[in-house]
Symmetry: C2
Subunit: 330 residues, 2 copies
């Protein structure tokens, strides 16, 4: 796995580095002997959490800054080899109640980060965290990268624009960029404080706290899930490979599962909690997209990535993490 040895001694910047995926990536990079700088603004209700760095605080550099601040970003990208660009507003519901903040973070900031790279460090490699939400309601399944992008909420539109700035800067300016379109990611260090960043962290919280998991409708909607270590591996592969430049790749889970089965599996794994079906709230139903799961064929073919952590194992690790560390996340 030569791509892992590529990271020793390299300078890596991670935006959103104290959040869920960012912190798991950062810890892995430190283990690979990279020089890691994290950028995070610790916006309340977003994913940033000091506890995510537990045990690693002295082995990396934390820089508190907001990606909406172009001056800081101009300074921070200098001297970096790779930027893992994970900062984002990830709540679909929040994007509908406050579309401007979502636009500022997910769209305008991406443009200013890319401008910073273009002017201050055109040799940097940038790996962006996109989302399968960009596709909207599937026309066919599994979703591949050739599926039309027809987002159903403001967050999906803004993430789409943020991604495409990256591709335009690759094609027009030779800035080396890649976008990974993430599906539902789960694992340790995930925000579980509220339910606005996706269902899975919320399900896990409810089970671990021996509370009721509520599922909208009949719970038969299919989803795929990727364990965070697998997602981290995809970022590491994309960051190390020139072949990834200018490319977009779906990530995906091993097998789709419906929400009711997933909730039951979480309850069984935790040995706590319970599940109940409830009617759809109006606002949620409007932006729901039915069954959805992604094909990861392209990234498997081009970068050799596939999800390797089975769902049962990933849930086991995640639930154990919150049983032991829950106090820092509730």
């Amino acid at each position: 796995m030569t791509y892992l040895s590529d990271y020793a001694g390299r300078s890596i910047l991670v935006t959103g580095g104290m959040g869920f995926i960012g912190s798991n990536l950062a810890r892995r990079l430190v283990d690979l002997d990279a020089h890691v700088t994290l950028v995070d603004s610790l916006i309340p209700d977003y994913g940033g959490n000091w506890h995510n760095l537990a045990g690693y605080q002295d082995r990396l550099r934390v820089n508190i800054a907001d990606v909406r601040d172009p001056y800081s970003m101009h300074a921070l990208v200098q001297g970096q080899d790779i930027l893992f660009n994970l900062a984002g507003q990830v709540s679909h519901m929040d994007s509908m109640t406050d579309p401007y903040t979502d636009l500022e973070i997910n769209t305008r900031s991406q443009l200013s980060i890319l401008e910073a790279c273009r002017y201050e460090n055109p040799q940097i490699k940038v790996i962006y965290a996109g989302t399968r939400q960009q596709y909207g309601k599937p026309r066919y399944l599994p979703l591949d990268e050739d599926h039309l992008q027809a987002p159903t909420d403001v967050n999906g539109v803004n993430k789409l624009a943020g991604e495409w700035y990256h591709i335009v800067y690759n094609n027009a300016y030779g800035l080396r960029t890649t976008s990974l379109r993430l599906t539902n990611t789960y694992g340790p260090r995930q925000l579980v404080k509220h339910d606005r960043q996706g269902f899975i962290g919320w399900f896990i919280r409810k089970a671990v706290r021996n509370e009721e998991i509520q599922i909208y409708g009949d719970g038969t909607q299919l989803r795929d899930l990727t364990y965070v270590d697998d997602v981290v591996d995809a970022f590491l592969r994309a960051g190390a490979r020139e072949q990834a430049n200018g490319r977009v790749y779906n990530l995906g889970g091993q097998h789709p599962i419906n929400l009711l089965e997933l909730a039951n599996l979480i309850v069984a794994t935790a040995g706590r909690g319970r599940v109940r079906l409830i009617p759809w709230p109006d606002q949620r139903k409007k932006i729901d997209i039915g069954d959805v799961y992604s094909s990861y064929q392209r990234i498997q073919d081009e970068l050799g990535w596939q999800p390797v952590i089975p769902l049962a194992e990933g849930l086991h690790r995640t639930i154990n993490f919150y049983l032991q560390n829950g106090e820092h996340y509730w």
Copy 2:
């Protein structure tokens, strides 16, 4: 043509209303006895021009305001039946040198216009001017609405986001919106002051002024063109039809033509000017997309639209307009 009689007595707001397409649309709406209010900020180098309203100044209301100003837009959408939303930054080159201004006008303003409609006038119907530039480099021709959107410049990304906000607001909030993805539009009242808003106005200017039309490369790139009266007709159909709600439609020309043939036709029609092939400038070549033309099958099937003005006739009218009115446009 029942849709035309729908406009008598109705209150219509046109953003970008002093620009090329906006003013042609406004003049037509006045002729149809609509109550027309134009919003335009007359940004220098954009398309707004007082002369575009010649003969109509007293038959409509002009409101100078910038769509980036959310307060004005909140006030202006009130009491309107239809909003033709045409304000935009349309230069691809400018979007690369000043991506933030393009973002503010083409993306953020669209969001604030839609928020204004949602809160102040949820019954309004909104017709947005999208662009085939959203598709980027064609994978197949003609481009249909199912073609992937993979823009090649910042303008394309921002227009794409601006369009999708409209569709999201239709689907999530029931605001009635439609997007027309315009191809190369030409005709009287087009900006011909500089060459950053597309080639055709520039070609016409050069011919009418008996100057040299320069074409990059060998001039064999195919394009389609739509005469502005046909584009106006598409807006009028979309604005009058409930069937158009939540839909995106390509417009297209009658037949694709290559740039060299087009330039020669313009010179022949004008009886002045000349044509020369020159090498591609680097910056232009990077964002060129080769042959491109659109299918208008969907809007023909659903709204009965098709381009009816032949290119020779449209060019004749356009050239005559600039021969007579050029002093207001050079």
